[in-house]
């Protein structure tokens, strides 16, 4: 037997998501050569990754609770904060150590909130850095929809924790509609109880540098996570999404579907999709993909799916990534029917994103996002 030891992996080879700490000092200042930082323009982070000072920037969090939803402001030391999520990089640990106040959203067990809860995170200026923390707790068998909207101008790092109880269901739509000079680094971490369901839709359109890391961990079997994303990078924008799904429980499902478009010089999109299926996570069903539409020259896409499987007993596991131009034949088909080139291009792009937009749980947002994408093309 000893000859076989080491031949079968029992622990992930990837060390990327292992380091966790509340203390920023436990993380070295990134140099840009690290795997998790190599695509991020550190020079443009205004020292958020090193030491940008005490956090004197002004970012306001205003929450509008749906029915049956409680909203509180709390401070450091509230025992509920950081129980589901431990920061996994220096910026995240800095945000956890430095936030001034935290917003806690609670949905009581067995309640169904008919209307979405809106949380607006709005920055006044990119001067000075700011840090935030939001905890969204959905009790067992409850259902809720939460819309997060990041806007204005800021140099901002935050952590958002989603704790979805057994049998509960949470739909999150996170809109990154920052002004042109905003820098935002964010971790959205969800912990799913037994048979819990989460949909998380990231819509990233604005900001100079946006780096959003949605992650999921299952605390019991039967969890179901759908992580969707839509982004549109314009000239000079760096939009980065780093997904991580950690399958450590049996019979859980995950789907990751991210689509983006890029146009203009130095428009840069990064998509990292990491999935680990641990040895205990038998019956896992996972698939993730990333699609990018490159609309002009001078853009850049880095798309890296990573899948590590430590058990043979999976229901399904796969990933895919493709980046390319608009299909000439699609445009020709439309133009041959009398549709002008610009209109044809818009239609194809609308179709490309339409599949994702159509699934957003808040109908008003569908029209708004469709209009915002069309405005990017104008």
């Amino acid at each position: 037997m000893s000859g076989l030891q080491g031949a079968v992996e029992t622990a992930p080879v990837s060390r990327l998501h292992e380091q966790q700490s509340y203390d920023p000092a436990d993380f070295a200042v990134p140099s840009g050569r690290e795997e998790e930082w190599r695509f991020t323009p550190l020079r443009r982070l205004r020292s958020l990754h090193s030491d940008s000072g005490p956090g004197d920037g002004k970012v306001h969090v205003v929450a509008d609770a749906g029915p049956g939803v409680t909203i509180e402001k709390t401070e450091h030391g509230d025992a509920r904060l950081g129980t589901a999520y431990v920061p996994s990089d220096r910026v995240s640990a800095r945000a956890f150590a430095s936030f001034a106040d935290a917003t806690v959203v609670t949905v009581s067990p067995n309640t169904e909130s008919a209307e979405p809860t809106h949380i607006s995170v709005r920055g006044e200026s990119s001067e000075g850095s700011a840090f935030g923390h939001i905890l969204i707790e959905v009790g067992a068998n409850a259902r809720a929809v939460v819309v997060l909207e990041y806007s204005g101008s800021a140099t901002f790092a935050d952590n958002v924790e989603f704790v979805v109880g057994d049998g509960a269901s949470l739909a999150v739509v996170s809109l990154q509609v920052w002004g042109d000079d905003a820098v935002h680094l964010s971790h959205h971490h969800a912990q799913l109880g037994r048979d819990a369901r989460l949909t998380h839709t990231a819509v990233t359109l604005g900001g100079s540098v946006v780096r959003l890391a949605p992650s999921v961990r299952y605390a019991g079997p039967g969890g179901d996570a759908e992580l969707r994303g839509l982004y549109f990078a314009d000239a000079g924008q760096h939009l980065e999404h780093r997904l991580f799904v950690d399958h450590a429980e049996r019979n859980c499902r995950s789907r990751v579907r991210y689509k983006g478009a890029l146009q203009g010089d130095e428009a840069h999109a990064v998509w990292i999709g990491d999935v680990i299926i641990r040895a205990a996570a038998t019956g896992t069903d996972t698939y993730e993909y990333n699609r990018n539409l490159v609309l002009t020259d001078g853009t850049r896409v880095d798309s890296v799916p990573n899948l590590e499987i430590l058990t043979g007993e999976v229901a399904g596991a796969g990933h895919a990534s493709a980046s390319g131009r608009l299909e000439d034949q699609h445009l020709f088909y439309l133009m041959a029917r009398g549709i002008p080139a610009a209109e044809a291009k818009r239609l194809v792009i609308r179709g490309f994103f339409g599949e994702l937009i159509g699934q957003i749980e808040v109908p008003e947002l569908r029209d708004r996002i469709t209009a915002a994408v069309e405005a990017e093309l104008a």
Partner: protein
């Protein structure tokens, strides 16, 4: 309006090699090779790597990470994987001061 800024002292520069400086918030690689001084944008056009940490030979600076080569006179890529040029800046020597226009 572009103007000349002091980038470094001439005596700081190796006879063949580069140093990285920041001039008016812009990262600049000041390169000396074959008796001439050049200034280039100090970020490889391929990935976020300072060219000043690379190797200098003839009229070339080579990025240490993936080996992209750039002509120090024009900033044009002369070897892959970089395909886009890096910016170059006019250089003036006054006494021991190296001045860069940007």
């Amino acid at each position: 309006m572009s103007e000349f800024h002091r980038a470094c002292a001439l005596s700081q520069l190796p006879d063949k090699g580069a140093i990285g400086v920041e001039v008016a918030g812009v990262p600049i690689a000041v390169v000396r090779t074959e008796g001439e001084v050049y200034a280039l944008h100090d970020v490889c056009s391929h990935e976020e790597v300072p060219l000043s940490e690379g190797e200098v030979y003839d009229q070339t600076v080579e990025c240490w990470l993936h080996g992209s080569c750039f002509d120090v006179r024009s900033g044009k890529p002369t070897g892959p994987p970089a395909t886009k040029p890096v910016a170059t800046y006019p250089v003036k020597i006054e006494g021991d001061d190296v001045l860069v226009e940007l």
